[in-house]
Amino acid sequence: MLRKYSNTRSLGDNIKLGVLTAIVAGMVNVASFMLFYSFSSNVTGYFAILASEVSQNNYYQIAIVLLWIMSFFFGSFISNFIVIHFNRRNTYLAHAMPIILELFCILGVAIYGTRFYNGTLFETELMLMILLLSMGLQNGLTASISNFAVKTTHLTGATTDLAIVFSMFTHKKYRNNKAIKDKAKLLISIFSSYLLGAFIAAFLYSSMKFNVFFIVVAFLTVVIFYDLSKIYRFNRSLKIYRAQKKDATETTNSIESKSKHIAIS
């Protein structure tokens, strides 16, 4: 899910990544709306709000909205920066690092929210900024490693893509096109996962409040360790294979030397 890059990724890799990160995005967005009365997984609305605040000369709100947009931007920037600069050294680590940073951001919000949050405006704005940063990190990573096929923090583009795909299915020529079918599968899984995450957060919010973010952290941990376990298993198999090969070579050599010895004597 995280190990492969761009065109080497299979549909399965993209679906797995899309499903898990869309659940995370749906949960974070709904939880932040219920806790802070502002969304945290997309910035389209904030551009409209920014324009509205500018027209009303609300300098404080302009600054806050600007910082929120910049947080999302900065998150996506860092993600792609890490991917393109460290991809050759260690692909898995380069792809996992943005998710690890995202995990720490959300974990920070969860811990602060459950233990120290007093409900002040400053805390609210700061935590929203951190959540937007984390969503930027996530979106930057998924878009970057999937060649822009997977974007899970907002559904505007996905809605357009899905509408286009569905309209293409109305034409005989495209109905059995594998690439279009695969695209539809990916988009539908992202949609349903985002909604599932949103429902989970909405359902759990009343009893769990900030603890919802700990569940988000659990999902992110799965994303990180899923590939790590595969790498571990692969390395172990490789080790076993090499050891077996070495044993086989040694056995062959010893048989050969024994047969030579017998032949000489």
Binding site: S38, Y59, Y60, Q61, W68, M70, N118, G119, T124
Partner: protein, 149 residues
């Protein structure tokens, strides 16, 4: 190298502009703090509208609990630390207040029921609040309070 410098300048300038703007206008929370006098409740009722009074009178029925609750009080005292005191004649009730979002939502809670108001206008002299009703309540209410002298 040039691109790196441009990026650093870009991020720094946006941050500086944002921080400068924050510094220009003080926190909206500070603007709320003080004593305010209730001057108007503009209510456009719907079929189910029942005027109750969370601030000083308890709801009488379940139907009232589902409807908009009005904090009718002569004086609204917003204190630092999220304490709101409603006063009317000899009655007094303590609630909690918080600002949410980017400072555009006022949250008032008595510990059981939490209400949200969209801040339509926030100035030194006057605050206009639009009640954010749950989707099943078709009511509209606007509260206007002015700063007590």
């Amino acid at each position: 190298m040039k691109i790196r410098i441009a990026l650093i300048i870009f991020f720094t300038s946006i941050s500086v502009i944002a921080l400068a703007l924050i510094g220009k206008k003080y926190n909206p929370e500070n603007e709320f703090v003080g004593s305010w006098e209730e001057i108007d409740w503009n209510i456009k009722g719907a079929e189910k509208s029942v005027v109750t009074n969370l601030g000083l009178v308890q709801a009488q029925s379940a139907e009232e609990e589902d409807s908009i609750r009005f904090h009718v009080a002569k004086s609204w005292k917003f204190k630092p630390g999220g304490i709101l005191i409603l006063e009317d004649k000899n009655k007094e009730r303590q609630l909690e207040w918080r600002l949410k979002g980017r400072g555009h939502i006022l949250e008032i809670s008595d510990g059981v029921v939490t209400e949200f108001y969209d801040i339509n206008l926030l100035s030194d002299e006057k605050i206009e609040l639009n009640y954010i009703a749950p989707s099943f309540v078709k009511d509209y209410a606007r509260l206007v309070i002015k700063r007590s002298s």
